[in-house]
Structure formats: C-alpha cells, structure tokens
C-alpha cells in the first residue's frame, strides 16, 4: 500500500526578491513498511522534501498524497490534524520538550489525540521498553544522553501509531555507538511494527541500513534504488 506519493512537486523559497528553488519537480512514491534513506549533499532539498511529506509545509506546485489523500492544499489546522494522527517526526537536534520527563514527552502526542489515562500508561510503558529506556522514564531530557534523548524521540514519534515516521538526520549529533543504537532501534521497530521509516542523511554508515535509497541533488531525484541487502551496520 502506498503511504506517500509526490507528484511533480516544486518548492520555491522567497527571501526578499531572491528566489531559491529547493525542489524542481520531484515525483516519488513510498510504500508501507519501507525503510528508506533520503540522501544527498547539504542543500539538495532533503529537509524540504521531508517537510512536504510531513505536512509541515506546502508545495509551490505539484501534489503530495498521504495515505491517498491530497494534503497539498490543506489549511494549517487540517495539516496539524494530519500530522497528529499519521506522521511521526524525529529531528537531528534532540527535539524533546525540556520541561517534560521522558515519560511525559512520549505521552504528549497521546494526550493530543485524546487517549485515556490507562491507554496512555500502557502505550508509553510499552514504547519506553521497546527503546530500552523504561528505567529512565522519570528523567528530564537534560538528565539523558544524546542517544537516550533520540530514542525517547523515536518512542514519541511512534506513540500515536503513525503510518509514517520521518527522521531528519537522526544520528547527525550522535557518536558512532549511539548512532548505531538509534539506527538499530529504528530498524527493529520497522520490522516489529511495520511502520514506514524515511530518514534523511548523508552519512554513508546510516545509508547502509536502508532498504531503499533515494538520492537528491539540486532539488531533483537523481537516483532511486533498492538496496540489495539489509544494512550491515555502522
């Protein structure tokens, strides 16, 4: 089943009178259960593409479909609804809310989705166990290592049972060991839950985990290939 489809998408940013064309007509499709890397040098349009698929931004032209629904013209609130139920995000910086504990950070999307207290308790505990952080549940982000924070972010992204998780350079700020742990956690969750992962990176060690690699350059897809084997690890 198709989770995301992008049809001839362009995205132009205007800064004063200067126009920057971040995407120049990108078309691609992402199937359910994929573990796909979006690669390319800085400025190639990876983050912009992720933001469009993630309903954070709108294309200048072209269509973006998420689970078959055209999201290109949705208004601000409709996009927020779409994100909340369907899409999980993992960012390069460890994007946790600093005033909330690990447990509360994971719980937050469930609260926004209106889950009951018992549902939340069960789901958060299960997720923290799956990222091996149940004993750190009561810690605030500043009491966790970078790797731990990123694993909390993964748990949070998974909390509302999204169909798609978008990870923008998830290991960029991590050392090798923590980076490896994060990638393995993501891969394991992909296999266990079937949730689709798309991650932007330019780190070859991370790319090696991908089952499919989409390469962007200057706002265009220049290569779209399936990896022959599963990642060999960092």
């Amino acid at each position: 089943m198709e989770v995301a489809r992008i049809e001839n998408v362009t995205r132009i940013f205007k800064t004063g009178k200067v126009e920057t064309q971040a995407l120049r007509g990108v078309s691609l499709s992402i199937e359910s259960g994929e573990f796909t890397a979006l690669v390319g040098p800085s400025g190639s349009g990876k983050t912009t593409l992720m933001q469009l698929i993630g309903c954070l931004d709108q294309p200048t032209s072209g269509q973006v479909y998420i689970n078959g629904k055209d999201v290109s013209k949705l208004n601000r609130n409709q996009r927020a609804d779409m994100r909340r139920g369907t899409i999980g995000f993992i960012f390069q910086f460890f994007a946790l809310i600093p005033t909330l504990t690990a447990y509360e950070n994971v719980e937050l999307p469930l609260l926004l989705n209106g889950h009951s207290a018992s549902e939340r308790r069960e789901r958060v505990s299960q997720l923290l166990r799956s990222v091996d952080l149940i004993d750190r549940a009561a810690h605030r982000p500043d009491q966790l290592s970078g790797g731990e924070q990123q694993r909390v972010a993964i748990a949070r992204a998974l909390a509302p049972k999204p169909t798609l998780i978008l990870a923008d350079e998830p290991t960029a700020n991590l050392d090798t060991l923590n980076g490896k742990q994060v990638m393995e956690t993501m891969m394991q969750l992909n296999q266990d839950t079937g949730v689709t992962f798309v991650f932007a990176t330019h780190d070859p060690r991370v790319i090696s985990y991908a089952r499919r690699v989409i390469t962007l350059q200057d706002g265009l897809v220049v290569e779209n290939s399936k990896a022959e084997k599963l990642g060999i690890g960092i």
């Binding site: 954070l56 609130n77 927020a80 909340r84 999980g88 960012f91 809310i97 600093p98 999307p109």
Partner: protein, 405 residues
C-alpha cells in the same frame, strides 16, 4: 487541560527570577490599586459619615417653605412646636433620636475682628449632639438653661486667639429681619476633627437662640438619626404630612454621592493605566519566552498541536503569572491597607465646599472593590497575554523548527 497547566507551570519555572519579577510587578500594581480604592472608600465613607453625624442626620423634617441657603427665620418657614414633633418622631421604632435644631447666620466680633458663622441652636441634652460633646477639648458643654454661653470650634478659636471663658460679641439675624447682638462667654471649645465644620459652626442652647432670634417654640429642622440608614426612605414616607417636607440623607448629601461617582470614574482610568504598565511587564516576559522557545513551538506543532492549543498554553502561562501576581498583590495590598486603616493618612485642613472631610483618612477596603480589582487585574493581564500567545500560535512550523523567528 491539566497537561497544559503542568507544562505552563514548568515553563515559568525555567526562569524563576524573571517569572517572579513579572508577577511582582503585577502584585505591586494590584496592591497600589487596592490602597487607592481603600483610600477613596475611606474618604467617601468618612465624609458621608461625618456629614450625617454632624450636619444632615439621616432625616430632617422642615417646613415646606424652608430654604436652607437663606437660613430663613420667618415663622412660616419653621417647624412649629418642634419639641412635640420631635417627641412623636422619636417614638417610632426605627428612630434612634429626633431633636429640634434652629439655624441662624451670625457674625462673631472680638477685638475689632469679625467672622461670619453659622449658629446652631441645639438641645444640649439630646443624644444627637454626642459628637459635639465628645469633641469638647476645653471648657464645658452647654446646658439647656445657659443664657450667656456658647461653644466654638477649635480652628475658629485658634484663628481669633480665644479660649474658654473669653467673652465675644455675637450678632444674629432675627425672624423679623433685624439683627440682634449680645455678649456671650465661651463655655467650651470643641473639635470634630472636621475643619470645614468646626471653623464656621457655633453652638447655642436652642432656647437661647430662639429667644435672641425671636423664634420661640420654632425650629429650622427636626434632626433625626435612624438605627439603619437603609430605612430612611421608608421612615420618610411614613412621616410625610401636608405640613412638612422630609429630606433623606441621600437627598441632602447629593454632592457627596455625585463626587463619589466622579471619583470612581477617574479611578477606573487610573486603574487601567496602572494595570497597562504591569501588563507590559507580563507581555515582555512572555514575548521573551516565545522567542526562547521558538524551536519547541515548532516541535509541538510538528507533533500535531493545533494553533489554538499552543495559544492556550501561553495563555495558561499568563494566567499563572497573573494568579501569582494577584495572590502576592492581595497579601501586599492587605498589609498596606491594614496599616492605613489603623493609622490613617493625616491630610490636615482639607475640605471641599459642601463636604465634611475629617483631618485623617482611614483606608477602608470593601469586598466589592477587592473582587472588582482582582478580576480587572486578571482580565487585563490575560488580554495582554494574547499578543505573545498569538505570536506563538501562528508561527510557521518550518521556520520555528529551524529556530528562527
């Protein structure tokens, strides 16, 4: 909305000092407003109280044609058989005391100096005159059969350099339009702590003033005090006859009531100015918080938090700051008000024509003022919090995630 409350509370805790000082600004503002309201209330309350006690009473019964501004002494303008009328009124259950009073215009002359005065003819034994009796600071109070004594107020005595026992000449108008002059001894000097009253009012026994003004068995008014001022209208209606007019304290003190309304209108402007200043501090704090947390707002938006919820989160922070400020303000305000309620503000000789204001104002905070000001402070702070809340709510998520705004 408990999670919002928790998040807002913790967010404020990130920069405790800043949050504390923002709340403190509101607290000081609110305390100032409570004090101002209490002073106005104290001033108005005491002015009304003094005027009722010393001058108007709760009710006055006068002849229909009596004109207060002319202090007429014509028999037609006066109440006939005043003792009898007063006695009848005093027998009514809501009435504390009813006593006849005669007013005349006069001039005191001593050592070549003359001063215009109002002469009050009073029944020295009536309870209604207790405030004057209690205010006696030297000499003795009048007796009903005193034919040569009078009481003068302290400011007048000071001005003319008089003391108890001194002799002065008093001229008064009479009922037939003549002027009668007689030498009197100052029996005593009184002070009601109300300069506007004490400096112009001279007391004579009613019988003596009736004699000298040729108004035997007549009085200008029957001065009535009630157990409860709210009953004034009901008692006035009961007393109404074709012979007399009955004036209530509200009617007689219209100026004070109007002045109070005017003061209240000005105070609302003052309140809004003070609150606008404190609200600016709160806005500043929250705008800084929004800019510091731009990326977090992006994250919240990315995980699907809608604009109105982000807005609610910042409004919750404003509410918490407001509540902290209000609690501190109420404590601070109560302490300051309690101090001035006990020791008062000495304002000295301060008066407005037609109003009797004591020389010290005691703060008096009403529950109504407290509630109104608390609600006003809360609402103004919350309104001020709208700007930063909207700023946060309508940030572009992409830009917010980049941490730029």
């Amino acid at each position: 909305m408990i999670p919002l409350l928790k998040m807002a509370f913790r967010d404020l805790g990130r920069n405790r000092r800043r949050s504390f000082f923002s709340s403190l600004a509101l607290a000081i503002g609110l305390a100032l407003l409570l004090l101002m309201a209490a002073i106005i209330q104290g001033e108005m309350g005491s002015a009304l109280d003094a005027t009722i006690r010393l001058q108007s009473g709760h009710l006055q019964i006068r002849a229909k044609s009596y004109d207060e501004s002319k202090t007429s002494l014509k028999w037609d303008d006066l109440v006939e058989n005043p003792d009898q009328v007063a006695e009848q009124i005093a027998s009514l259950p809501p009435v504390t005391v009813a006593t006849p009073r005669l007013f005349a215009s006069g001039i005191i002359s001593v050592r070549g100096e003359s001063v215009g005065v109002r002469v009050f003819g009073i029944d020295p034994l009536s309870e209604a005159n207790t405030p004057y009796r209690l205010g006696l600071i030297s000499g003795e109070f009048l007796t009903p059969d005193d034919r040569e004594g009078l009481l003068i107020g302290q400011p007048l005595a000071d001005k003319l350099g008089l003391k108890a026992g001194d002799k002065i000449s008093l001229s008064v108008n009479t009922s037939n339009g003549d002027v009668a002059e007689q030498l009197f001894a100052i029996r005593g000097i009184y002070s009601t702590q109300t300069n506007a009253f004490d400096s112009v009012t001279v007391f004579l026994p009613l019988a003596k003033l009736q004699t000298i003004t040729q108004t035997e068995n007549h009085a200008s008014t029957i001065f009535v005090l009630l157990k409860d001022s709210d009953q004034a209208d009901a008692v006035a209606a009961a007393l109404l006859t074709s012979d007399y007019k009955v004036l209530t304290w509200e009617k007689m003190n219209e100026l004070i009531v109007q002045y109070e309304d005017m003061a209240n209108a000005y105070m609302v402007i003052f309140y809004l100015i003070v609150l606008a200043i404190t609200a600016t501090v709160v806005v500043n704090t929250l705008v800084m918080a929004v800019f510091e947390r731009t990326r977090e707002i992006g994250i919240l938006s990315a995980i699907g938090m809608k604009s109105r919820r982000i807005m609610a989160m910042f409004l919750t922070e404003s509410s918490l700051l407001a509540m902290g400020g209000i609690i501190m303000g109420l404590i601070l305000g109560s302490l300051v008000v309690a101090y001035f309620a006990k020791y008062g503000f000495y304002i000295g000789n301060f008066g407005i024509t037609g109003m009797l204001i004591g020389n010290t104002i005691y703060a008096e905070l009403t529950l109504k003022d407290t509630i109104n000001l608390t609600v006003l402070a809360f609402v103004v702070t919350l309104l001020a919090g709208l700007y930063p809340a909207l700023l946060a709510a309508y940030m572009d998520p992409v830009e917010a995630l980049r941490g730029v705004k």
